[in-house]
Symmetry: C2
Subunit: 433 residues, 2 copies
Amino acid sequence: MRHDGPVTSQTPLSALSADDLAARLTTVRADYDALKERGLKLDLTRGKPGSDQLDLSNGLLDLPSGLKDAAGTDVRNYGGLDGLAELRAIFADLLGVDAAAVVCGGNSSLTMMHQVLTALLLKGGPDSPRPWSQEPVVKFVCPVPGYDRHFTMLAELGIEMVTVPMNADGPDVEAVRALVADDPSVKGMWIVPTYANPTGAVCSTEVAAELMAMPTAAPDFRILWDNAYAVHHLTGEEIKSADALGLASASGHPNRPIVFASTSKITFAGAGVAALAASPENRAWYLERLGFASIGPDKVNHLRHIEFFGDADGVRAHMRRHRDLIAPKFDAVEEALSGRLSGLDIAEWTVPSGGYFVNLDVLDGTASRVVALAKEAGIALTPAGSAFPHGDDPRDRNIRLAPTFPVLAEVEAAMAGVAVCVELAALESLARD
Amino acid sequence: MRHDGPVTSQTPLSALSADDLAARLTTVRADYDALKERGLKLDLTRGKPGSDQLDLSNGLLDLPSGLKDAAGTDVRNYGGLDGLAELRAIFADLLGVDAAAVVCGGNSSLTMMHQVLTALLLKGGPDSPRPWSQEPVVKFVCPVPGYDRHFTMLAELGIEMVTVPMNADGPDVEAVRALVADDPSVKGMWIVPTYANPTGAVCSTEVAAELMAMPTAAPDFRILWDNAYAVHHLTGEEIKSADALGLASASGHPNRPIVFASTSKITFAGAGVAALAASPENRAWYLERLGFASIGPDKVNHLRHIEFFGDADGVRAHMRRHRDLIAPKFDAVEEALSGRLSGLDIAEWTVPSGGYFVNLDVLDGTASRVVALAKEAGIALTPAGSAFPHGDDPRDRNIRLAPTFPVLAEVEAAMAGVAVCVELAALESLARD
């Protein structure tokens, strides 16, 4: 899944003589100057759908055609805190959970995660000795690299972060075990189980089973299972997510995981529907909290989505249309990086089979420089380190690439430029050593 | 505004002899038995729009016709935390505030109030010495009778409630002053300034000015100004709300009020748009907090509302169509109560010029009995005491009537029944004395 090997005849830069290194630096500086000359204005910063992807869902704009759901509820009025049943059934099918476990909400799963965390802080969960805000310290395990908004949310809420490596099959279980076994202040962890942001890793059923079964010192340990990319396949192999709720229940910790998902990158990123799935006890706890803050979600938008998709297979077919649009952009990233950097031994990157990102690890200590060089050449990249808590990448090597929003020609141009910046920063670093 | 006077020739029940009381009790018991015989199934519990009101907004279902706002933003994608500018302008006009003060959000102003309170608890506001959750006690001033969901939200969040009377011109200012002047644990108060839930009272500019100017021991005192019914007039006299933000700013307490509103009872109750307006410092504080929980509101629904209304005058014209539908229901409440109860000196009730409720005060100690009698006769009323913190009406006399949701004939039938129950409960009570 990672590319860094000598698939071409290029010599690793670290093997170059001082003279060869100086010569190559001169050449690549010229390439970079030529890049700047082009006056690009390109953006690879955020995981946003492109407008061609959004167009796939324009049928929503004329829906709903009816005013009631199958149960006869007028969707225009108040009520129905857990969302329309037919939509819950669709999410249940996609997530591989029981429909009775699901709550459908507003337009943002991030908002649901924040609701869960603030409720844990102010009230505590079903298994909490007290509200988390009354604990001296609360810590979360954060697999890295990870999703920046997960980390900034914890920082905002005063929750400390301890990191573990994100491996190709999920979080490093032994590292997680060591953190949670004896320290009751470690109250939870994040995970993006399928096509993780940013590495594209997929948490295996084995890893998931261990996370759900492992002993934790905290009786109310929570795994926030952000399955944002559950159906966002980039290849014909449509990987099925591990069954977090089932595994947790089987190992006697039914309340450990809370599952989140949304249609943000399925229909409209700003106007989709989010969902949560959890054990009966967690679900009742969440709905009780939610009932003090809401009279119900936007059921018109629920019905709009029910009519648009019909069922879960409608969603799956729709996701294949997304794949047709964005897989070529991911191919362009791979081609640009391989074309310039293979064999140089200064970078490795992922070739994800789903999700929205490519994870690029450059020569240690050069990620910030690459981002700065790219910016000077008119290519916006996510700030170096953003996939780490507090933006602190200890090796300054990680860059998250998001190729979905620009059109294909822009991805090609931007990534050719990024490859130049990666090489230039590496050469500068090696020349200094 | 209140009716209880001897506008008919009926004798006050308290003036009846024991024999006359017994005779009348027999008669009214027969009326009640006849009522039960009818096997009604009517509901006056919640302030929900009727389906004919919802039909007024069915034009929304075919909107938006475009994909972009005036600034060229694609409303289908992420972003725009404070909502679309044209919608903010409409709310600003309706609320009499500067457009720069407004944030447009999701489908619920209740959710925005909850966000503000949880943020004050977990982080503190711009003027807070520390997060409210770190104070030994936090108290809120609650004008009573008031909105049950305001009170249950505070109870959920562990905020204590101290009550003041809600007068015809707003909260009793002297009572509020006495609570807030010396006690720094009194951190805020609720108010529904226009057509209050449930009394219909309108807070005068004089009262509003005093609330904004009064000294408070807490440096971060907040008035949550829930202007849910700002444009919900029931008569041709379209009362303008006091300018909370302007008055607060003029008196040197710009951060004191936070204004809330929504289109829940303007377009679709479950699928409208909510808004918040506040000082520059409060607004920035709110948006910073919100940014950790959301990437932006449903802008498609914002654009849908912009296209539907055009401007604030479009909203005002729309509200007159609502008035045409619901004013007759309020008239029916008045007629049923006056017809049976005027002159008996056992009840008083409001004749609101706006909003969604009629406040009915029955003979002390009989409200619970009235609700129970009504229930037995198939008429659902809001539980007695629900307009008081913890559901505790010390005089057990207050009942909130919500006549908008049933059709007119049902309101007539239900209210005729309620009047019987009010008289029967009073007679039972007087006969015991």
